[in-house]
């Protein structure tokens, strides 16, 4: 059965302490596709993702999973549908890759039932899908940044959720690893139909890999749509306060944002 | 390299900052005098103002007064002086440690100097048959010194240098270990244990001119070092790399300041026992009032520390009357809440 779970937000308001960071956002996340949330620093991208994944309680408005408020869904059941890869995940010292990936099975395990073949299968599939089967017995501490990120993605995969949220999965990686991880996510979306929602700080990577873009500014959604439709110089100026020239990326045929600073600007665009 | 070095931004314009510091300085000196008077006037025995005057004047003239009140006042002089010296030394020590470790939670007591000194003294008594007071002091000093250096070393290993947590944990661990050793030595030796427990509480009541002769020179040296190092310490606050860029010999300053800080704390501990939190609280409060310029922070901390300890001792004598609640207990009770406040205010990256 390939029925997708659908998640969306409705007039969502959230924040920390006294501050309101997400200010009334309606997010219609297309099921089975890759959506990317972009915006300048502190525009609320991470806060939005945290609220969707129930890390942060909503002040008002709602996050609806298949029409139900996520607060009304039992935690374990939610964890089987919605997975989150947070910004700086912590791995216990010395833990082996296969074990860490195995932790992702937590929502599927009952109190007194230990490992079943189903768990083993899910872990193996996750390892295979992320291409790290040969690293299965290595210690996570010893891996490179890109490899480690794959391990975390594998853990999220082992959770076997229909929806996967990722908070800046590429921020601390160098370019080759960034591409590696994003390609992997595209593979997963294609093979498993997982709905992927991620926050990316790089507008160009976002434009390349997203099926759907959500642009935030000041805690509000100011544009939503396919990158080819919405990424224009005007949008870039509104979201990032940046003058730019937007052309078509010759490699991927998606919008490419070329910033215009004060130096090194040749002629008119 | 094209790093532009920026001068540290001042929180307020120079005129206002300087004026405020002068005011604080004046208040500080006034507070010292006031606290001295309070210390002489209050205690387990109430005395009248006239007796205070008489006590002071006879002391100055080197006579013994006949009036009991004046006698009481006179007896308070040594401890007041010791409290002044010890408080100043502890606060200065704390300020120096905080400057070189770049963390607002460095307190010399955290370095386990108390237990180190205790262990040395106990070993001396139990195994070396030490009885003379100078030997006690010498041992205590050595023990405190070695322990502090050890804890500093353990707490500085690894990236990030001496973070507050590493230092505190190193101190706690070392303290626990050393106090087990102390227990091991004391438990079979009842009489030593009995005497030792009095030393375990920081207390300026054992003031004698001989003991103060230990603290005073260290304090003077400490003050000199502080004056000389102050601007270098200011640069150090910007980070090692920037400080080197500004021409500061980082390694050398650190060692000098560290040795001075530890020596100040060790001297006080040797003479008065463990008195904690003064080195933590005072520089922090002064920093809040006057900013982080070491040329003001160090001397004002010394003043503040003197006032704090004198007042702590006075309060202890008043509430503990007819006995006393030792100054070390008072500072511990004050210090814990202050530590909580400081820990809450400090952002995690600074921790």
């Amino acid at each position: 059965m390939n029925a997708h779970h659908v998640i969306r937000t409705q007039a969502l308001v959230a924040g920390y302490g006294g501050a309101t960071i997400v200010d009334g956002i309606d997010l219609d996340i297309p099921a089975g596709r890759i959506s990317v949330i972009v915006g300048a620093n502190a525009c609320g991208k991470s806060t939005l993702l945290k609220t969707i994944s129930r890390l942060l309680p909503a002040r008002s408005g709602a996050v609806l999973l298949d029409g139900k408020r996520i607060e009304d869904i039992p935690t374990k059941e939610l964890a089987r549908t919605l997975g989150l890869l947070p910004q700086q995940p912590i791995s216990p010292e010395g833990i082996v890759v296969a074990e860490l990936v195995g932790r992702g099975r937590h929502p599927h395990q009952k109190l007194f039932r230990s490992w079943t073949t189903d768990d083993d299968r899910a872990v193996t599939e996750a390892l295979a899908a992320t291409g790290i089967l040969d690293l299965a017995d290595r210690a996570v501490d010893e891996l490179s940044g890109g490899q480690r990120q794959r391990v975390w993605i594998a853990m999220a995969l082992a959770q076997e959720t229909d929806i996967l949220l990722l908070d800046e999965p590429t921020t601390f990686l160098d370019v080759s690893h960034q591409v590696e991880v994003l390609d992997l996510l595209a593979d997963l979306n294609a093979a498993r139909g997982t709905t992927i929602v991620m926050v990316l700080h790089d507008i160009n990577m976002a434009a390349r890999y997203a099926d759907h873009l959500f642009a935030l500014r000041g805690g509000r959604l100011i544009a939503s749509g396919a990158p080819g439709d919405i990424v224009t110089a005007d949008l870039v100026r509104e979201v990032f306060d940046l003058d730019s020239l937007v052309i078509t990326d010759p490699v991927s045929q998606t919008p490419l944002v070329l910033p215009r600073g004060r130096h090194h600007v040749a002629g008119a665009g | 390299m094209t790093t532009a070095l920026r001068a540290p931004r001042r929180a307020s314009t120079p005129t206002v900052g300087a004026r405020r510091r002068v005011i604080v300085l004046v208040i500080g000196v006034g507070a010292v005098l006031a606290s001295v008077l309070l210390s002489l006037a209050f205690g387990s025995r109430p005395v009248s103002a006239a007796e205070v005057v008489e006590g002071i004047t006879t002391w100055v003239r080197g006579e013994t007064p006949t009036d009991i009140g004046a006698l009481a006042v006179q007896s308070r002089v040594p401890r007041t002086v010791l409290a002044l010296l010890a408080g100043a030394a502890l606060a200065l020590s704390g300020a120096l440690m905080q400057a070189i470790t770049r963390n607002p939670l460095a307190d010399p007591g955290i370095l386990g100097v108390n237990t180190g000194a205790a262990l040395a003294v106990v070993v001396g008594i139990a195994f070396l048959g030490i009885t003379s007071m100078w030997s006690y002091l010498g041992l205590a000093l050595a023990g405190a010194f070695v322990t502090a250096l050890f804890v500093y070393f353990v707490g500085s290993v690894g990236p990030g240098g001496t973070t507050p947590i590493k230092l505190a944990l190193a101190g706690a661990a070392t303290t626990a270990a050393l106090s087990s050793l102390v227990s091991a030595i004391l438990l079979p030796r009842q009489s030593v244990m009995d005497e030792f427990r009095f030393w375990q509480v920081g207390n300026v009541g054992r003031a004698a001119w001989e003991t103060m002769a230990v603290v005073a020179p260290v304090l003077i040296v400490g003050a000199v070092v502080a004056i000389l190092c102050a601007s270098a310490l200011n640069a150090l606050a910007l980070g090692d790399d920037l400080a080197v860029g500004l021409g500061v010999r980082v390694g050398r300053i650190r060692i000098i300041a560290a040795i001075t800080g530890v020596a100040l704390c060790a001297a006080v501990t040797a003479v008065a026992g463990p008195i904690g939190f003064v080195g933590l609280m005072v520089p922090h409060v002064v920093r809040l009032l006057c900013g982080a310029d070491q040329r003001w922070l160090l001397p004002l901390s010394a003043l503040g520390g003197a006032v704090l300890l004198v007042l702590a001792d006075t309060v202890g004598r008043v509430i503990g009357s007819p006995g006393e609640v030792e100054a070390g207990i008072i500072t511990a009770f004050l210090g814990a809440p202050v530590l909580i406040v400081i820990a809450r205010r400090t952002r995690m990256r600074a921790l």
Binding site: H106, D120, E160 | A173, A332, R344, L351
Partner: protein, 350 residues
Amino acid sequence: MPAPTLISDAQLTGVRDARLRRERRRRIALSVLALVAIVLMGAMLMLGNTIYSPAEVIGVILGQDVPGASFTVGTLRIPRALSALLAGIAFGVAGSTFQTMLRNPLASPDVIGITSGASAAAILSLIVLGWGGGATVTLSLVAGIATAVVIYVAARGGESTGGRLILIGIGVGAMLDAVVAYLLVRADVYDVAVAARWMAGSLNGTRMEQIPPLVIAVVVLVPLVVALGRDLRALELGDASATSLGVRVDRTRVLLVIAAVALACFATATTGPIAFVAFLAGPIAARIVGPGSSVIIPAALTGACLVLAADLLGQFAFDTKFPVGVITGILGAPYLIYLLIRTSRRGGSS
């Protein structure tokens, strides 16, 4: 349902076999620990001024009246061995739970001031109020929990509660130590020796009546912690990951803290604070069973072995009898410093 990636049977078996191998290693390590604990218990029951044979010891345990042994073993040694075992389990579980929850091997109830509260109350009760055993235990427990609450509340709010918790705990611990020092100064000379011995963590003179509270605590709370073990391991990954995995982070943490604090306080109230056991049981257990697995039961057994072995050393290895806490303090310290340095080198802290 997501469409699975195609994997071969060989791959599946490979992963599964690796897992079974890891689990087997853990089971073996656990069995060895349990065996060591049993042997040490036996040694405690058999050794002493008079050495009794295993047959005699077993006879006493079964309730028979064995001449000589019934008193020595029954009234003196069995309570002592039991309290060593239970205190070791309690401290081990409490320490490892805290360390896992705070994600810092250096954060343990005896460092962060919690047991200081229990100690101060016990000294107060023993020396100043002159209360007996049961009342001391109760007061100690209440004080310990109150201290933990104060520290927790003071450290709450904002990020990095863990780091703040440690610092505030150390500060509060220092304050409570001052209280103890003050009480000791005011005390009668005779009481001082008693108090000092208690403060060092001692199993001396343990009587059977003291055991039940600790038994109840261990029997009730340790299974609770074990049941929460999987959630605890999810917490190791950080609050965000744990929530994503379906753990009710706040609720689980509160339950675990209460259980761990209660265990530490019950143990402290019974034997006094035994230095470093809570601190070291977890890290030592982790090295024995390997990283990545639940450390609660291994830590319980390690704690028991530490206390038992230390008490045996304290009783028989030297001319004077030393309380168990002194031995653990002296032996534990070098390992602790090593752990500190190693953690610092790794760049770890909370």
